[in-house]
């Protein structure tokens, strides 16, 4: 099988869908000739032309408002917000309009759109371009929230997102764009609400999201050397969330840690931790359910401080060891 990057996997999914369905198109800032800030849409304008790969003014409000409108009229827009931090400007369209239309019109309309949000820290973009805001989105009923951690999942989930008739918020961790993995060229989809056990283990379950899945897998290898067997679960979609797989895992390992890049306080990992605590897994816990997230600070520009603000591999190792009482 061929190896492609996370960015290419997302592009491939969009390209394949656009070839099949004329209603699917993309819009965003500098996504045409420039290929988008992270090069995800590179070459798409050549294949599909400026009608279906639409460069927009620098206005997330305009992009999102346009997308909601055309979606309601039957198109299936994929909009790229250059940095997920800018989604605030599109918030009214996404939260007040897109998320609610289907419900408020009693199902007579729907908003089949995908909002691509390059998110996260680690690339030196400083406080206004490095946030992880998935909890904001997951809080709003009517939005589907997806957070793939690898190229294979990114392609499969993008296809599912395009096919879904509801607004889907698609978080792409910027640091993952250049990660490579085996991705089949042919058609496949990954269903919403199905978590994946990335690594089986017996001593502790780590539920990690986004780029933290990769860091946790690395940490697990490190921990294995000391005889700690870590099970790593990637929920892949935050809304809907596959809590069942998580609960079964915790019942087996008796310990649960949730690792996420977003600020620990009020992050989506807190939601996962609560669900574990309230579940039947409670009677199997041998440790308090714990979280490991970013510290509550705007992401610093200084690379060392930036690294210190979000969980790194060694932080995960340390946290797991403390939970193992070692």
């Amino acid at each position: 099988m061929r190896e492609i990057t996370y960015a290419s996997a997302i592009k491939e999914a969009m390209v394949q869908e656009m070839r099949i369905d004329k209603d699917v198109f993309i819009l965003g800032e500098d996504i045409g000739i420039y290929g988008g800030s992270f090069g995800v849409t590179n070459g798409m304008i050549e294949e599909f032309g400026p009608e279906r790969v639409r460069n927009t003014p620098i206005s997330e409000s305009a992009i999102s408002g346009c997308a909601v409108g055309v979606a309601m009229m039957g198109m299936r827009p994929i909009l790229e917000i250059q940095f997920s931090d800018f989604v605030m400007i599109a918030m009214d369209n996404i939260v007040n309009q897109a998320a609610k239309m289907r419900y408020m019109f009693g199902g007579k309309t729907q908003v089949p759109m995908v909002v691509r949000l390059p998110s996260g820290s680690g690339l030196g973009f400083a406080a206004q371009h490095s946030q992880s805001l998935e909890a904001w989105m997951a809080h709003v009923p009517g939005l589907i929230v997806v957070q793939p951690s690898n190229p294979y999942d990114a392609k499969g989930l993008m296809k599912t997102a395009i096919h879904n008739n509801n607004p889907v918020i698609f978080f792409e961790q910027k640091g993952l764009y250049n990660t490579k993995a085996d991705v089949p060229e042919e058609e496949y989809k990954i269903p919403l609400g199905v978590a994946e056990v990335k690594k089986e283990g017996t001593d502790l379950t780590v539920v990690a999201t986004g780029i933290m899945v990769n860091r946790t897998l690395e940490a697990a290898e490190e921990l294995e050397k000391d005889g700690n067997s870590i099970e790593v679960i990637d929920p892949r979609t935050l809304v809907p969330l596959d809590i069942k797989t998580i609960i079964e895992s915790v019942k087996k390992t008796n310990r649960a840690l949730v690792v996420y890049e977003a600020v620990e306080r009020g992050g989506y990992g807190a939601e996962i931790a609560s669900l574990i605590g309230e579940s039947e897994a409670f009677d199997f816990l041998d440790e308090p359910v714990s979280r490991l997230g970013g510290i509550a600070t705007p992401i610093p520009y200084n690379p060392k401080l930036e690294k210190a603000a979000v969980p790194q591999v060694e932080d995960i190792v340390k946290k797991v060891k403390s939970m193992m009482n070692k």
């Binding site: 008796n254 009677d283 199997f284 816990l285 041998d286 440790e287 009482n325």
Partner: protein
């Protein structure tokens, strides 16, 4: 206000009783008239009844404690009522007598001890443990109190429970362990049925190993109640009074004739059948009247009491024991009355309905084993009597009468007497007189 339950005075001579068995537990409801406790007096077991409705709040004595009459033994009142204040009153009431106040003090101490220990009792819910540890402990009947925690702040973790399984010996009672060793039973294969899965005796027995049940059939009965009282009285008498037993054979032929003649007369008069026992009792009373130095008691090792009345105790076998009801003023009563009275007290003895008074006041006792194949024995004196007559069976024997062999109805008498206060000669005289009157029963008419 809680009511006091007193130890009743059941007989004129009753001074104390032994708490035998509480029939009601503390906190249980009682109604007026319900038996609350069994008390052993020196003669019988009585049931003390509640005089009012309520809850048994407090027992002041344990089984085996000896309590003076009129002493408070329990409180009955309303649920939740505090008896501490009343207990103090009780303490004051008896403070005059040192031994009793000591008793109360010990009760208070006991109360304090139990109070303290219940406060110290570990509340298993408050033991720091993880949910999985609690779950495992519950599923495996492990008491968390017995597991030490290795987690933060001594929290019991899953691994602590697992270690406990590994290290803890299978729980077994010492008796069951001994049996398991004796009969080579592998205890690791047995599920214990005791608390927390402890292996108990019955678990070993249920393995049905050959010989186990055979060797375990010895019945064990608590040494208490009537048996203990009898034992105490018998050994007190036997070890304090030097016993001498005189034997004599009596020709009962005339008595046999007499009984035959009186049988129908008394039956018509009193509706009871005259037995030899009553004739012997009557003859004994006659002989005692003529030998007042036998009808005596040694009181407190200080004085010898010569009794004006002839009251004869009759040993009656009852299930699992022996009682000695008393026939009073036997010398003054006719055979008809005696027969009637003897049958009545024997029946009451068998029913267990004798009162304490009916078993007190004897001056001499008779133990009649004539219904068995017994010719003579050494009866033990029924204290405070000074002597006891043992009666054997009546049997036809060939004896020499007027230098000729004749068939006569013969009976053995055995007289045990307390040699401290009766010498051999007077005792022999008494037995000789008795033999004489039995061989010539018409002398009773004199």
């Amino acid at each position: 206000m809680a009511e006091k339950l007193l130890l009743p005075k059941m007989g004129a001579s009753m001074e104390e009783g032994t708490i035998d068995n509480w029939l009601v537990d503390e906190g249980e409801k009682v109604e007026a008239g319900d038996p609350v406790v069994e008390v052993q007096t020196d003669k019988i077991t009585i049931e003390v009844e509640a005089e009012n409705d309520g809850i048994l709040l407090k027992k002041l004595y344990d089984p085996g404690d000896i309590v003076p009459v009129q002493q408070v033994i329990a409180f009955i009142g309303e649920e939740g009522e505090n008896v501490d204040d009343i207990m103090e009153d009780v303490g004051e009431e008896v403070s005059g007598e040192e031994s009793k106040s000591e008793n109360i003090e010990s009760i208070f101490n006991k109360k304090l001890e139990t109070g303290a220990s219940s406060g110290d009792k570990v509340d298993t819910i408050s033991i720091r443990r993880t949910p999985i540890a609690r779950r495992l402990a519950e599923e495996n009947d492990v008491s968390l109190e017995e597991v030490s925690g290795s987690g933060p702040l001594g929290r019991i973790q899953k691994r602590d429970i697992e270690n406990y399984f590994k290290t803890s010996q299978k729980k077994i009672t010492p008796l069951a362990q001994k049996m398991a060793t004796d009969f080579q039973v592998d205890t690791s294969t047995i599920a214990g049925s005791g608390t927390h899965g402890k292996i108990i005796k019955d678990d070993i027995i249920s393995t049905n190993r050959p010989n186990i049940s055979e060797r375990l059939t010895a019945k064990r009965v608590d040494f208490k109640g009537m048996r203990k009282i009898i034992a105490q009285r018998i050994s007190d008498s036997f070890y304090s009074a030097p016993h001498v037993t005189l034997n004599s054979e009596v020709d009962m032929t005339e008595c046999v004739t007499l009984r035959k003649k009186l049988l129908s007369v008394i039956e018509e008069l009193e509706s009871v059948r005259l037995s030899y026992n009553e004739i012997i009792v009557k003859a004994t009373a006659f002989a005692l009247r003529n030998n007042p130095n036998i009808n005596i008691s040694l009181k407190d090792e200080k004085e010898i009491v010569y009794h004006p009345d002839v009251n004869i105790g009759i040993a009656v076998a009852v299930p699992d024991g022996l009682v000695v009801p008393v026939l009073r003023n036997v010398d003054e009563k006719g055979l008809g009355t005696l027969a009637k009275e003897a049958k009545a007290i024997a029946k009451k003895a068998m029913d267990g309905s004798l009162t304490s008074d009916e078993m007190q006041g004897s001056t001499f006792s008779i133990s009649n084993l004539g219904m068995y194949a017994i010719d003579g024995f050494t009866p033990i004196i029924n204290q405070p009597n000074a002597a006891i007559l043992g009666v054997g069976r009546i049997q036809k024997k060939s004896v020499i009468v007027d230098d000729e062999v004749a068939v006569r109805s013969m009976m053995a008498l055995s007289l045990s007497f307390d040699h401290r206060i009766i010498d051999g000669a007077p005792a022999a005289q008494f037995l000789t007189d008795l033999k004489d009157v039995l061989e010539n029963p018409y002398k009773l008419m004199v």
